[in-house]
């Protein structure tokens, strides 16, 4: 039952609906249902947030370490360097997301041209 498992045009859409829509909106609907019943700082929620955060962090790391497409032709050390530089600039600039992104992009693109 992989994305490419069946040749029909509708199968990928079913895959996206169940694997994507149901898997995200179920949490949103649960959130509405629970309303104000859950305490934001209960131990259970801290644990759930930890697992969710670590999972997204793993996605980020894999996007940088094992990229697809045009990024795949850049050296690994350059990508990690750009990420670290961007994150450091973000922290130093008082958690301004735009500064972090621009710094990372500058290092990445600058490095690509320097290595050419």
């Amino acid at each position: 039952m992989t994305f490419q498992a069946y040749d029909s045009w509708w199968w990928p859409f079913i895959f996206i609906l169940i694997g994507g829509w149901l898997a995200t909106d179920a949490w949103r609907f649960l959130g509405v249902f629970l309303g104000g019943k859950l305490s934001e700082d209960s131990h259970m929620l801290v644990m759930v947030r930890c697992i969710a955060t670590a999972l997204v962090a793993a996605v980020i790391a894999n996007l940088v370490v094992f990229p697809t497409g045009a990024l795949a032709s850049t050296p690994l050390l350059l990508r990690i360097g750009a990420g670290v530089a961007g994150f450091a600039s973000y922290i130093l600039a008082g958690k301004r997301v735009i500064v972090g992104i621009l710094a990372a992009e500058a290092v990445l693109v600058g490095g690509m041209f320097a290595l050419q």
Binding site: D25, W27, L30, V32, V46
Partner: protein, 255 residues
């Protein structure tokens, strides 16, 4: 609603209410024009390239943008497609990456619920909840009368979703023609946007430990247990961070 704006007849209470609903919906849509939304759109540019590379079609990519909306969930889903995961494994990984949506909705619902708000409206609006719209709404709600906050959030969330569906569609068509340096820079937007906004949205130190540990173990598990790497990283790094949190809390209390 359009009628209510156009008509200027002696207004009944209903018409006044309708006009205000449209007014606040427009205000919400205008609030979407912001720096965080611009950064989000640029991350969607990167996502469109990612989906294209994974072999998705234009229709599938735009459809996914509309029905899933949360960007991390979509990146996980496309990751599962690339790794050729089966549907149950993909759904499980996406669900795990989206748990945070539930507490976010729990936090925003009391902010926009008024006396006469219908339940289905809240369920419908909850679909728009993702990091950017949530942050923007929580910031602007105090300037919006309570009974119009649902309209405001509908305008804000709806315009964000539609705009980014268009962005994804346009970039998907153009992506193949971009020079490699530009596509590489675009692909790098998504991880950088996540990296910084994830850190910024961390509620407690424990989430920051979880993030650092997750970054470290993600690539390791990718090599060791391909197919289950996201799940394994989430559980191992997340529970380790939670354990550190518990130990530090106990020590804090003991001292």
């Amino acid at each position: 609603m359009i009628f209510a704006v156009v008509m200027d007849s002696p207004s009944t209470a209903d018409q006044v209410a309708n006009r205000s609903t449209a007014f606040w919906m427009m205000r919400g849509a205008r609030a979407a024009i912001s720096i965080p939304a611009l950064i989000l759109a640029s991350a969607f540019v990167g996502f469109a390239g990612l989906a294209r590379d994974a072999g998705l079609t234009l229709a599938q990519t735009v459809f996914m943008t509309g029905v899933v909306w949360a960007l991390p969930a979509k990146v996980v889903l496309v990751g599962a497609v690339i790794a050729n995961n089966s549907l149950p494994a993909a759904a499980f990984a996406v669900a795990l990456s989206s748990v945070r949506l539930a507490p976010m909705v729990v936090a925003i619902v009391p902010e926009m619920r008024a006396k006469h708000t219908r339940k289905w409206v809240l369920y419908l609006l909850s679909h728009f909840v993702a990091v950017t719209s949530w942050v923007l709404a929580m910031e602007k709600f105090r300037h919006v009368p309570r009974e119009y906050r649902t309209a405001f959030y509908g305008g804000l969330g709806g315009s964000l979703v539609l705009t980014n569906m268009v962005v994804v569609g346009v970039v998907f068509v153009l992506a193949g023609r971009l020079p490699p340096a530009v596509s590489a820079a675009l692909f790098f937007l998504t991880p950088m946007y996540f990296l910084t906004s994830l850190w910024g949205s961390a509620r407690e130190a424990a989430a920051k430990y979880a993030m650092l540990l997750g970054l470290a173990v993600g690539p390791v598990f990718h090599v060791l247990v391909p197919g289950f790497d996201l799940l394994a990283s989430g559980l191992v790094a997340g529970l380790a961070a939670f354990a550190i949190h518990l130990v530090l809390m106990k020590r804090g209390k003991g001292a």
